[in-house]
């Protein structure tokens, strides 16, 4: 059963928000730029499925549309063409510290973050000890989050995410900031998660981590899907191609 079904999806960049009233009044357009990061299509004709219990790793260069693809799957932005079908509840960790406030303590942020992820306050209270234990933050849990290192923030966010019930998880890079022991913990969690039928989509530049976490792979290049298959093949081909891309 496919949990995520992406079918012929295109996404453009248009409507440039940096234009103010003045530019609109005089009918100014954003100049057409050239270069590696400038193209009119963020994603072109992307199709793939992720079945329940599978884990998909997405590789590709910076600015190639990986994060855009995750946002589309999550549903915060809309595809221009094609369709995306989703089953169940999708959770995401796309950005460090999203849904947290630096002046609140870790404990307070667990509540805020948990509610944003759809947990009820009663549920959070009930799971609070378990969340704090999972994060291994110890006494730091009552310090304001601005005092946290990025690894500590990732620990906190991930612990909350791991205690919310999602049928699919989208993870963008974030876990790379954690230390070795935390990464091991995450991997173990994800193995359990997919074994129990959870679906996982991971974007990462750490090719080692992505091979540890994922079974399937998908390679994006300049908005196009180059290849999909077993993650080890994808990573191998991606590595071999790198020399050509920059010439």
């Amino acid at each position: 059963m496919s949990m995520i079904d992406v079918n012929g999806v295109w996404k453009t960049y248009r409507n440039h928000p940096q234009l103010g009233i003045k530019e609109r009044l005089v009918g100014k357009r954003v100049p057409v730029e050239e270069g590696r990061f400038a193209r009119s299509w963020a994603l072109r004709d992307i199709s793939f499925q992720v079945d329940a219990g599978r884990s998909l790793g997405i590789v590709g260069h910076n600015g190639t549309g990986k994060s855009t693809l995750l946002s589309l799957i999550l549903g915060t932005i809309k595809e221009d063409r094609g369709t995306i079908k989703r089953k169940g509840r999708i959770g995401a960790m796309l950005e460090l510290g999203s849904g947290c406030h630096p002046d609140l303590t870790g404990r307070e942020n667990i509540f805020l973050n948990g509610a944003i992820l759809g947990l009820r306050i009663a549920e959070i209270k009930q799971k609070l000890d378990s969340i704090i234990a999972f994060s291994e933050l110890g006494a730091a849990i009552d310090l304001p989050m601005r005092t946290y290192s990025s690894g500590m923030s990732a620990r906190l966010s991930f612990s909350v995410l791991a205690h919310a019930h999602h049928d699919a998880l989208l993870i963008d890079e974030i876990l790379a900031v954690g230390d070795a022991s935390f990464q091991t913990k995450c991997s173990a969690y994800f193995r359990d998660y997919t074994a129990q039928g959870g679906t996982l989509v991971v974007v990462s530049h750490s090719l080692q981590a992505i091979q540890d976490l994922c079974v399937d792979g998908l390679w994006l290049h300049e908005g196009k899907l180059v290849q999909q298959g077993p993650i080890s093949n994808i990573v191998k081909n991606y590595l071999n191609s790198r020399d050509d891309v920059f010439t």
Binding site: L94, D103, I116
Partner: protein
């Protein structure tokens, strides 16, 4: 039965408002006391300014001015700050699936909380200036007005927040508009000092009816029908406009913030 999602959203709004209040007062010595100290100091400043410096010839001017300024603060702060509620919460708009309207709504609720903290200050001033309080009327009219003003302010905040995503100049225009309306709306002066042939124009301003409703309520009157009609009519108008704008423009907010 309410859908479980609504009570979940209510909890989320509660936590967002709590966050704002905590963040605002956390690093100050007085902490939450500021919520009440702030309106009280504000009242004192105005009292001194108008009683002893400007010497306005109006009976119990301090009560008059506070019953207007506190609801106004709720209105204007909600809309001016709420206009930034999408662009200032980029990570919540873009990185998590959340009903977006929760953001401007939590802005409105947060200012409502500040207003509610100011209500005892108003009563305190009413009592020490020797006027009377009518508890029974207040008991149902204040909650009614809280609901009406929330419904009045929320659509305006949504309009500002959505438009501001598309054209960032909106936040500055809203600021200027509200400083203009501070004077256009009979608030620090009574409508009666406006020349009579202009008064009809001043009465076209929905904010006047909202503020004057509060004045009536605080001074123990039953809310006049004309006021109620104007406020309800404005709510309907603003809501339709906000719904239309939101419906047309909301889908691209996440990629434009």
């Amino acid at each position: 039965m309410l859908d479980g999602r609504y009570s979940q959203w209510a909890e989320l709004i509660y936590l967002l408002v709590l966050k704002e209040l905590k963040v605002r007062y956390k690093r100050s010595v007085l902490g939450f006391l500021w919520a009440i100290a702030n309106p009280l100091m504000f009242a004192l400043v105005y009292w001194v300014a108008f009683k002893f410096i400007m010497r306005v010839q109006m009976e119990n001017y301090i009560v008059f001015i506070l019953t207007g300024l506190f609801p106004w603060a709720w209105l204007s702060l909600s809309v001016t700050q709420g206009t930034g509620s999408f662009i200032n919460n980029l990570s919540l708009v873009r990185r998590v699936t959340l009903p977006k309207l929760i953001l401007p709504l939590s802005n409105v609720m947060q200012e409502m909380v500040h207003f509610v903290f100011a209500i005892p200050v108003v009563f305190f001033i009413i009592v020490i200036t020797g006027e009377s309080i009518h508890p029974l009327l207040l008991l149902w009219q204040i909650p009614l007005m809280l609901v009406l003003q929330t419904l009045f302010v929320f659509p305006l905040t949504v309009i500002g927040a959505v438009l501001n995503v598309y054209v960032r100049d909106v936040q500055y225009l809203v600021g200027i508009l509200f400083s203009a309306f501070f004077f256009i709306t009979p608030m620090v002066y009574p409508l009666s000092i406006v020349p009579e042939n202009y008064q009809q124009y001043f009465k076209l301003n929905p904010a006047y009816w909202l503020i004057d409703s509060w004045r009536n309520v605080f001074s123990g009157n039953i809310l006049p029908l004309a006021h109620l009609a104007w406020v309800l009519g404005s709510i309907a108008g603003f809501s339709l406009l906000a719904a239309w704008i939101y419906h047309r423009l909301a889908s691209r907010i996440a990629e434009l913030v």
